[in-house]
């Protein structure tokens, strides 16, 4: 009897449990922690990073509030701290209060603590990326390059928001334009490598098609246009603000698609057809 082995995934469909509220956590957490990190790193340029840190914390908090709205039993939310040993969601939950506490001490008492706050923000972002990587049921998330993309996107979004906010507290900072320019390049590389990785790993076609459907817009509006605007900003500085907005909004949009639309589950695989005619 002839047997067949084939790789077509059976019953792979997009997940329906995490919606905009879960995406909101990854967006708020990414933008917020990216903003905290870059505002601290670039503060030696001579501006006050504390207002930025406060906005970053507010964004992280908003993201967590979104996910609190999503969970089925919100009044038991404190149980989330119970599995630090293996769960990245638990680890994210542990990092969050530390981030807020150190952030509050920085704001009220000791501005120099902005550095540990930035480190905690980076840890928070990393934890978020590992939450997705640990989700084995979603091939588009568990790919290691997805975690890289999430981290780089968070950093890019945060830097984009910094460009938008800097004129409110200080003069424009051309160095921040350079950083965003480099980050846009890195995000583009990460995006391309991620999509190539999904193809190599034979991720569900639904995921690949969904990401392909946003590729052109993400490339043009999320990368090429803001990069061009950053060059124009050398002549007309306020244009950098638009570049920042585009870099931030496009990253958030991509993450929304990644979480809510491109998250096809693993599906099943009938590795061998049952042999007929046996008792």
């Amino acid at each position: 009897m002839k047997t067949m082995t084939f790789n077509s995934r059976i019953s792979s469909r997009v997940q329906r449990n995490w919606d905009w509220r879960a995406a909101g956590n990854f967006i708020g957490g990414g933008v917020g922690s990216g903003l905290i990190l870059w505002s601290a790193l670039m503060s030696p340029l001579g501006y006050d990073s504390l207002p930025m840190m406060l906005i970053g914390l507010a964004l992280v908090g908003t993201g967590l509030f979104c996910v609190w709205l999503e969970i089925g039993r919100p009044w038991r939310a404190l149980n989330v701290f119970k599995h630090f040993s293996t769960s990245w969601m638990s680890r994210e939950a542990w990092v969050a209060p530390l981030l807020f506490i150190v952030g509050a001490i920085t704001w009220f008492f000791e501005p120099l603590l902005v550095w540990p706050t930035a480190l905690l923000a980076l840890l928070f972002l990393y934890s978020q990326s590992r939450i997705l990587q640990a989700d084995k049921g979603i091939p588009a998330w568990r790919h290691p390059r997805c975690a890289q993309l999430v981290v780089i996107t968070g950093l890019t979004e945060g830097c984009g928001l910094l460009l938008l906010l800097l004129p409110l507290v200080d003069e424009s900072q051309p160095w921040s334009w350079v950083v965003l320019f480099v980050l846009l390049g890195l995000r583009l590389v990460a995006w391309q490598r991620y999509r190539d990785g999904l193809t190599q790993a034979c991720a569900p076609l639904g995921s690949q098609k969904c990401l392909e459907s946003i590729h052109k817009k993400f490339l043009l509006i999320g990368h090429l246009l803001p990069a061009l605007l950053l060059l124009v900003a050398l002549l007309i500085p306020p244009v950098a603000i638009v570049a920042g907005i585009l870099a931030t909004v496009s990253g958030a949009w991509m993450k929304y698609i990644l979480i809510c639309k491109a998250a096809f589950n693993q599906g099943f695989d009938l590795q061998h057809l049952p042999v007929r005619g046996q008792p």
């Binding site: 019953s11 089925g72 149980n79």
Partner: protein, 221 residues
Amino acid sequence: MTRYAMAVDLRRCVGCQTCTAACKQKNGTPPGVQWRRVLDIETGEFPDVRRSFMPVACMHCDEPACEEVCPTTATKKRDDGLVSIDYDLCIGCANCVMACPYEARSIVHKAEFAYGDKPMAHEAQSFDPARVNVSTKCTFCIDRIDLAEETGLTPGVDHQVTPACVNSCVSGAMVFGDIEDPDSEISKLLKENKSFRQNEELGTGPGVYYIWDKADEDNDL
């Protein structure tokens, strides 16, 4: 050490969905939620086409991805291999739903019954409000397995302590038992036949084996 597992003989499964119905009846799952279901798979190209059936549910893995990601420790792997959920700890974050490569888990956000808000008698009997807004899945009829401890009966042999799906299977395609016991029916069946497990490459060590052919003469599996 006991390790309960299930074997599904794909050569025998006729896709009747009796196991699906039996599970629903036993566990009172709400509309749209099937802890166990049977996939109807068509393969090949006309005129050389085949139709196969594959029952799927929680695989009660050796290394459950759901347990690793669960932030609350609600999901636990027991010593006997069963993966359980503590409904009083679960916060319904759905992280385990995303982590499970077997689409085994569901979350419903309000009490629903076959005919709307009002349960039929058997639904009212099996309705458990603790299962609303938390993650649920096949338990291998854990209450029956626990009953085996008290009664001395053997899961997979005595129907009182055997999962409902296995009891109901009209073709005898589903077999349940302790794979650590070399004399159990499941151990013998796996020894005498070729089998595979779902998505093994992910390293989860699923506890459900799919039998598809008899073993080679030299018993080299």
